[in-house]
C-alpha cells in the first residue's frame, strides 16, 4: 500500500511539472502585431478590405470580427480583455457612455483633417464635462425621412395635406395604414422624433458653454405640452399607431398598404429594388419644423488597444486612414450611408441617399451624453402609451410622466 501511494504521488507530481513547463512554452511564443476591429455584418466586407490595404502598407495584420452593431456599445465594456477589440465601429451617441467609462481613447485630428468634416460631426463625437475631447472619426452620416409613394398620393407640402392624404388613403381599403412609422411594444423615440420636434419637443437644452445640459429636459416642455393634444387627435383618427413595428411598416409600404413611410437610408436598397415610384422628403412642418435626428457613425480606438500594446498602430488606422476620402467613399459604396468626409461626399452620388440627405435640413444630432440612455425607453414608451389606439393615455399626461421618470433617473 505504501509503495503504491508513493508511486501515485510521483505520477501526480510528474504531470504537474509537465503542465507547468507546457504553460511556460505557450507563453514564450510571441505574437505578430494584430489589431482587432469590430464591425457589423453589412460593413464587414468593406471594412476588411480597407483594413487589409492599410495593414499591408504598415506591416501589421488585422482581424475583423462581425459584431451586431446595436450591441457593440455595451459589449465593449463587458468583453474579456483577450477578445476585446482595438478599434470599433460606433454611433456618435455612444460617445458619452464609452468615454465616461474610460473605454475609448481620445483622438487628435490635424487641422487639415478637421477641415474635411462638417463641424457637427466632430462635435457629435466629442465629449467631456470638465475637459472636452474627440473620441471618434466620423465616417458616415444618416437620418430618417418621409418616403412618399408618388403613384398613390401627391407629395404633401404642409402637414395638413399630409394628414388628409394619409387618412384618405387609409380609408380607401380595410387594412391600409395612414403613416407607416415603426414603434412596436418597446417604442421608438428615434423614428418618432420628427413628430416630436414638430410639436416643439426637445431632449436636452444646452448650457452657456454649448454643452448639453442634462438638467434641462424638454420632453414635456410647455411649448410641446400646448401642442400635445394633436397627438390625441392623430391617435383617434388613426394617423399613427404604436402597434406598427419595423417589419409591418416596411411590408405596408412595399405592398402599397401605406403611401407614407418614415424610414432611413438602411432601406435604400429595399426602396430601389421595390419598383415603386417614390420621393423622400422631410416631413412637413407641424407647428415647428419636423426635423429628424442626425446620426453620425464612425470609428473609435478602445482602451484595450493600449493594453494590447497596439495603441499607436490603432490610432494610425483610425486617424490617418479611415478619415481619408478614399476610405470613406469605399465604405459609402457598400453601406448605404452618405460619407461624412466632405470631399468624399462631393464625389459620391446615389439618388436615394441624396434625397435622404436633403431631408436632414435643420436636423438635430442625437445627444451623445450618457444620460441619453435614460431617455430612449421612456420617450418611446410615452409615444406608445398615447398612440396605441383604443385605451390610449392622454398625450400630455403620458409625456409628463415620461419627463418625470427621466428626470428621476438622471437624478
Amino acid at each position: 500500500m505504501k509503495t503504491k501511494r508513493s508511486v501515485a504521488l510521483l505520477a501526480v507530481l510528474a504531470l504537474a511539472i509537465l503542465a507547468a513547463t507546457a504553460a511556460g512554452t505557450v507563453r514564450a511564443a510571441s505574437k505578430a502585431t494584430t489589431i482587432t476591429i469590430w464591425a457589423d455584418q453589412d460593413r464587414k466586407a468593406a471594412v476588411t478590405q480597407l483594413a487589409q490595404t492599410w495593414a499591408a502598407s504598415r506591416g501589421v495584420t488585422v482581424n475583423v470580427v462581425v459584431h451586431d452593431f446595436g450591441s457593440i456599445r455595451d459589449d465593449v465594456g463587458t468583453v474579456a480583455a483577450a477578445d476585446a477589440p482595438d478599434v470599433i465601429m460606433a454611433a456618435h451617441d455612444w460617445t458619452g457612455q464609452l468615454a465616461a467609462n474610460g473605454l475609448v481613447e481620445p483622438i487628435v485630428l490635424s487641422a487639415a483633417q478637421k477641415k474635411q468634416f462638417p463641424t457637427y460631426t466632430l462635435n457629435a463625437f466629442s465629449y467631456g464635462t470638465a475637459i472636452k475631447r474627440l473620441y471618434g472619426v466620423p465616417t458616415q452620416i444618416e437620418n430618417i425621412g418621409l418616403v412618399v409613394n408618388t403613384s398613390l398620393v401627391k407629395i404633401p407640402t404642409t402637414f395638413a395635406q399630409l394628414e388628409s392624404e394619409a387618412l384618405a388613403y387609409k380609408k380607401k381599403k380595410a387594412g391600409n395604414i395612414a403613416i407607416a412609422v415603426q414603434q412596436g411594444t418597446n417604442g421608438d423615440a428615434y423614428h418618432m422624433y420628427p413628430f416630436f420636434s414638430g410639436l416643439g419637443g426637445y431632449i436636452f437644452g444646452t448650457n452657456k458653454a454649448g454643452n448639453l445640459d442634462a438638467s434641462d429636459i424638454g420632453v414635456a416642455n410647455p411649448k410641446f405640452l400646448k401642442n400635445a393634444k394633436l397627438i390625441d387627435k392623430w391617435n383617434k383618427e388613426g394617423l399613427i399607431n404604436s402597434k406598427l413595428d419595423y417589419s409591418t411598416s416596411q411590408n405596408a409600404f412595399l405592398t402599397k398598404k401605406a403611401a407614407f413611410w418614415i424610414t432611413g437610408p438602411w432601406n435604400s436598397d429595399t426602396l430601389k429594388k421595390s419598383g415603386l415610384k417614390f420621393k423622400i422628403i422631410q416631413m412637413p412642418k407641424i407647428v415647428y419644423p419636423s426635423v429628424p435626428f442626425l446620426g453620425v457613425q464612425g470609428f473609435m480606438v478602445t482602451k484595450y488597444a493600449a493594453d494590447h500594446g497596439v495603441l499607436s498602430v490603432a490610432q494610425d488606422f483610425v486617424t490617418n486612414y479611415m478619415s481619408t476620402a478614399a476610405a470613406q467613399t469605399a465604405l459609402a459604396n457598400v453601406a448605404g450611408r452618405w460619407p461624412a468626409n466632405l470631399s468624399a461626399g462631393k464625389g459620391f452620388s446615389d439618388p436615394v441617399l441624396a434625397q435622404f440627405g436633403k431631408a436632414s435640413a435643420g436636423g438635430v444630432p442625437m445627444p451623445n451624453i450618457p444620460q441619453m440612455n435614460n431617455v430612449w425607453t421612456d420617450l418611446g414608451q410615452a409615444w406608445v402609451r398615447s398612440t396605441k389606439g383604443a385605451g390610449a393615455e392622454k398625450a400630455s399626461a403620458s409625456f409628463k410622466a415620461a419627463s418625470r421618470a427621466i428626470a428621476d433617473k438622471i437624478g
Binding site: 451586431d68 463587458t78 474579456a80 483577450a82 413595428d245 419595423y246 417589419s247 436598397d269 429595399t270
Partner: protein
C-alpha cells in the same frame, strides 16, 4: 412508504391491468370524451399553428392561418443554412441555428451528466457516513440551494468576467465557464434530492458488500449507483431540461452570436431587429422542440417518479 409498500402497489396495479375491461357506454363516458377533446385542442392549438407557420411561405405572424396558404419548406432551408433574409438590408440576418442547437445540447448534456455524478457522490457521503460536521454540511447544503443563482447573476457575471480575464477557458463566451456556473447552482438541489433517495436504499446491501471486502468506492459504483439508476436518469433529465431552458445566466456569459444557446438565439427572432421572421422561427422551433418532446414522452413513466419528489420542470 417503503420499498415493500411500493412492491405491493406494483402487484396491485398489475392485477388491475389484468381485470376484465368494463363495458362502458357512451352515456357514461361522453363527458369524459368532451373534457379530453377540449384539453387536447387547447394543448395542440399553438403547436398546430407553429407547424402551419413553419410550412407557410408568408413570413409574418399575420400570414399564419390554419392551413399553410402557400406551402413550402423554404423556412427550414433558411433556418438550417443560416440564410434568413434580413428585411433591413439585402443580406441575411445573423443566425447560427445549428451552432446554437449544438451548443445547447453540448452544454445541457455535460451539465446533466456532471450534476448527477457529483450530486450522487455528495448524497452518498451524507447518506452512508457518519462524520463530524455532517449536520452542518447538510444544513449548509439546504441553505445554499435556497438562493436562486438567478439572483446572483450580477456577481456571477463579474466573477466570470474577472476570472476569465486571467483564465480564458472559463471566461465570458466560454461553454466551460457556463457549465461550471450551472454545476455550482444545480448541485445543491440535486444532491438533496438524491440524498433522500439514497436513504431508502437498504444499508444491508452495502453491509453485505462490505463483508465481501468491497471498498466504499466499490460500494458506491457497484451497489448504490446501479440501484439508483432510474432516479439518476430522472435527475439528469430534469437538469438537462432546466439547462436547456436557462436564459438569464447564459445571456450574461455568452456574448457573441456564434456562441449563443438556443433560447438566446431564438429570442432574437422575435425581437424587432429580426423583423419578426416568424416562418423561420417556427421552423426552428419545430426542429428544436421535437427531439426534446420525444425524449420526454418516452421517459415520461420514469419522470413521474422524480416529479412527485418535488422536482419541477421548467
Amino acid at each position: 412508504m417503503s420499498a415493500l409498500a411500493a412492491a405491493v402497489e406494483r402487484v396491485r396495479s398489475r392485477e388491475r391491468a389484468r381485470a376484465p375491461r368494463p363495458n362502458l357506454t357512451i352515456k357514461d363516458t361522453w363527458w369524459r370524451h368532451l373534457v379530453g377533446i377540449v384539453a387536447v385542442l387547447v394543448s395542440l392549438f399553438p403547436v398546430w399553428f407553429t407547424v402551419s407557420a413553419a410550412f407557410n411561405r408568408d413570413n409574418s405572424i399575420s400570414g399564419t392561418s390554419f392551413w399553410p396558404a402557400h406551402p413550402t419548406t423554404q423556412n427550414f432551408t433558411q433556418i438550417l443554412t443560416n440564410t434568413v433574409p434580413d428585411p433591413a438590408s439585402t443580406s441575411y440576418v445573423e443566425s447560427h441555428f445549428l451552432r446554437w442547437f449544438a451548443n445547447t445540447l453540448l452544454i445541457a448534456v455535460i451539465t446533466a451528466v456532471l450534476t448527477v455524478l457529483l450530486g450522487a457522490l455528495t448524497a452518498y457521503a451524507f447518506s452512508r457516513f457518519r462524520f463530524k460536521g455532517r449536520r452542518i454540511g447538510m444544513t449548509f447544503l439546504l441553505l445554499v440551494q435556497m438562493f436562486p443563482q438567478l439572483l446572483m447573476v450580477v456577481a456571477i457575471y463579474l466573477i466570470v468576467l474577472n476570472v476569465g480575464g486571467i483564465f480564458h477557458f472559463i471566461g465570458l463566451n466560454s461553454y466551460s465557464g457556463l457549465v461550471v456556473v450551472y454545476l455550482g447552482g444545480a448541485l445543491g438541489v440535486n444532491a438533496w434530492l438524491l440524498y433522500g433517495f439514497f436513504n431508502t436504499i437498504p444499508t444491508e446491501l452495502d453491509e453485505s458488500a462490505r463483508v465481501d471486502g468491497a471498498t466504499p468506492a466499490q460500494i458506491f459504483w457497484g451497489v448504490v449507483l446501479p440501484l439508483a439508476l432510474p432516479v439518476l436518469i430522472v435527475v439528469g433529465l430534469i437538469s438537462f431540461v432546466s439547462t436547456l431552458n436557462e436564459f438569464v445566466i447564459a445571456s450574461a456569459i455568452l456574448r457573441t452570436q456564434g456562441h449563443l444557446t438556443l433560447p438566446l438565439g431564438m429570442h432574437q427572432f422575435i425581437d424587432q431587429q429580426y423583423g419578426q421572421r416568424w416562418g423561420p422561427f417556427a421552423a426552428g422551433s419545430l426542429i428544436a422542440a421535437v427531439p426534446a418532446a420525444v425524449l420526454f414522452m418516452s421517459l415520461q413513466k420514469w419522470l413521474v417518479g422524480g416529479l412527485t419528489q418535488g422536482a419541477v420542470k421548467g
